[in-house]
């Protein structure tokens, strides 16, 4: 199916893969923010995941270990952030910026030797005859395992947050850390765990960029994907399913923009490249205009430091 020089089915298939990095990062950030911590360092954690995942995959020749490495790097970065904000009680906005600046620098330093190297390929799952189904086969059954894992993670996060005790405690800590503390929950420990989980997912997202999407390492390759993930969490009003929707919408715009470039439309490349960022702003504005007079969707303790004495 081709409309205006653009293969629609191909577009939808690409969309899923293009969305995966931000979907992973946004899902992770959702969990962190649900625990009441605003970690603006997603970009820094993603880029560290991208470089560490790339390095691990090249060193071992195994992309699975690469993704693992990316997740660990992201979690370590998040732990650093947790130490600064939860133990040293530093301002979360400033610390998140510091994490991003630090991550961008450190990844450039580590990545120097990996420029121009090709990573081991991540195989697509063989669904046999399923992938021959017209339309559906190409859209649903043509991806690598990370795409399905990212979808599974959204489901898991949704179930855990909504139906389990762990999720309830996490949300309680995010809504009112003082009340949760008074009930005997360990606010700082919960937040450490939530941040580390968020970091691991951001790292996975970064590794997906460098191992599958691009696939190679270039300095600053996340190009704002971490910030877009943050915007998606706001767009989603802190709900997992809407994160999925937001990420796929964003991925769709990115994919469409790339296809328009490839189809040779007479729109300058750089103007097309602005589209994802401009549309993110537009969506944020629409959402905030709606929420202005409605319920507050954000966790009530989001961004506030917790100190047991106060």
């Amino acid at each position: 199916m081709i409309i205006g020089g653009i293969d629609i089915i191909g577009l939808i298939a690409i969309l899923m893969s293009a969305s995966t990095p931000v979907l992973l990062a946004a899902t992770g950030e959702l969990v962190a923010e649900k625990s009441g911590v605003l970690n603006l360092g997603v970009e820094g954690m993603m880029i560290m995941g991208a470089v560490a995942g790339f390095a691990a995959a090249v060193a071992t020749g195994n992309p699975v270990l690469g993704f693992l490495g990316g997740a660990i790097a992201g979690a370590l970065m998040a732990t650093l952030f947790a130490v600064i904000t939860q133990i040293f009680l530093s301002n979360q906005v400033a610390s998140g910026l510091a994490l991003t600046l630090f991550g961008l620098g450190l990844s450039a330093l580590i990545g120097k030797g990996y420029e121009g190297v090709r990573p081991p390929p991540t195989a697509k799952i063989d669904f046999g005859p399923l992938s021959d189904i017209p339309v559906l086969g190409r859209i649903v059954f043509s991806h690598d395992w990370m795409v399905y894992l990212s979808l599974l993670l959204v489901v898991v996060v949704w179930i855990v947050l909504r139906y389990t005790r762990v999720g309830l405690v996490l949300r309680a800590v995010g809504e009112s850390h003082d009340a949760a503390h008074a009930l005997g929950y360990r606010v700082v420990a919960v937040r450490f765990a939530a941040l580390a989980f968020g970091g691991a997912l951001a790292g996975l997202g970064g590794a997906y960029l460098s191992l599958v999407r691009v696939p190679q390492w270039t300095e600053g390759m996340t190009a704002g994907a971490g910030w877009i993930a943050l915007a998606i969490v706001v767009f989603a009003s802190w709900r997992p399913w809407r994160v999925l929707l937001g990420a796929y919408m964003f991925g769709g715009i990115t994919a469409l923009q790339l296809q328009l470039q490839a189809a040779g439309y007479a729109i300058p490349v750089h103007i097309l490249s602005m589209a994802p960022y401009v549309i993110t702003i537009v969506v944020l504005v629409i959402l905030s205009a709606i929420h202005r007079h409605g319920v507050q969707a954000a966790p009530a303790s989001l961004g506030k430091s917790f100190h047991a004495s106060s």
Binding site: F88, L89, A231, I271, Y277, I281, R292, H307
Partner: protein, 360 residues
């Protein structure tokens, strides 16, 4: 067991001591990093912090100090005002680009006409370019309550793409043999932001940075507006009762920061950089965030912090040249500095006690 007890008032001593402690800690951690990279740590630190000031080729490097510190101080002064008010403009990089684009557009439009009015007009247009770009997050915040953090940051990427578009398209040098990039304003006397005293690196942008320091000091510490801004940041509720209009504060602090960042871009494109290229911006807008915090959001502190940060840039270049230290190592170094600073700041607001806190 170590416990933290909140101080009734921030410690004066520690608010001065933390930046110093953070710099020392960063030197130690940075030394370790350099050692990991196979460089002699003490030698590397000496090359970065001592050589550019007092070494053999210091005469050249000392000039570079002002060239780098100028834009950093200019941008950081603007950012500090917003940060004090709890308004997080992190898109200074974009405002810097827009200021440069606006002023370069005017100059390239007027080329090759010579006029004394061109340079002042470019200054005005540079400030307006940055100001208007900063007004986007400001107005969206005021009208719809949209997060200024995300919008200002997204606009950096939009500005970067616009910059590249301009460098490859409308502003491309027609006599540039097809190479991307505009005409070089250094070859256009009316538009050139030349060195005022040869060899010092002192150009109009540095003068503007000093003016900005003084102006920001008066605004923040000698004027009712500054008092309102600080109250709004520290006690938003109290500020509302005192009649502070949050919307006006958002507009003023973002507009001020945008105008200064735009000015920094204008002085850079007409002076040290010379032309619009797709790699014109080098991250001053982000490094200025570190400068603002390192200077404790105080204009005089920012001046000192800007000089120190400029030193790390130049020292980093030097270490790259003489020791083969990767340029990214300096970026890590600057990032670490902000981390240590934020971490040590706990001492300003809290007392550290050994032993269990008595149950009240």
């Amino acid at each position: 067991m170590i416990t933290l007890i909140r101080r009734p008032n921030p410690s004066r001593f520690w608010s001065y001591a933390t930046p110093v402690a953070a710099v020392i800690a960063t030197m130690i951690a940075g030394g370790l990093l350099f050692a990991l990279l196979g460089k002699h740590p003490v030698e590397a630190i000496r090359v970065i912090f001592y050589e550019p000031l007092f070494g053999e080729n210091a005469a050249y490097f000392r000039g570079q100090l002002l060239v780098k510190a100028g834009p950093l101080v200019l941008i950081a002064c603007g950012l500090a005002v917003g940060f004090r008010a709890g308004i997080w403009n992190i898109g200074a990089e974009g405002q810097y680009i827009m200021g440069a684009l606006a002023s370069a557009w005017l100059a390239l439009h007027m080329y090759p006409a010579e006029s004394h009015w061109l340079f002042p007009a470019m200054i005005v247009l540079g400030a307006i370019g940055g100001l208007l770009w900063a007004m986007i997050p400001a107005l969206l915040k005021v009208w719809f309550g949209t997060s200024e953090i995300l919008v200002s940051l997204m606009l950096v990427y939009v500005a970067e793409n616009l910059l590249a578009y301009m460098a490859f398209g409308p502003l491309k040098n027609p006599e540039g043999y097809g190479f991307p990039g505009s005409r070089n304003l250094q070859d256009y006397p009316s538009a050139h932001n030349a060195e005022l005293i040869a060899g010092t690196g002192l150009h109009w942008g540095v003068v503007a940075a000093l003016v900005a320091v003084i102006f920001t000091y008066i605004l923040m510490h000698r004027h009712i507006m500054g008092f309102r801004i600080r109250v709004a940041g520290e006690a938003p509720r109290a500020a509302r009762f005192a009649g502070v209009v949050p919307a006006r504060l958002v507009m003023i602090s973002l507009g001020f920061a945008g105008a200064l960042a735009g000015l920094a871009g204008m002085f850079e494109v007409s002076g040290p950089a010379g032309q619009i290229t797709d790699s014109f911006n080098v991250g001053y807008g982000f490094t200025a965030i570190i400068v603002a915090f390192l200077g404790r959001l105080h204009p005089v502190g920012i001046l000192l912090a800007g000089l120190l940060m400029a030193l790390t840039y130049i020292g980093g270049d030097m270490a790259q040249l003489t020791l083969g230290l990767p340029s990214a190592a300096i970026q890590v170094f600057q990032g670490m500095l902000l981390f240590f600073l934020l971490g040590f700041d706990v001492l300003t607001n809290f007392r550290v006690r050994l032993g269990r806190r008595a149950v009240a």
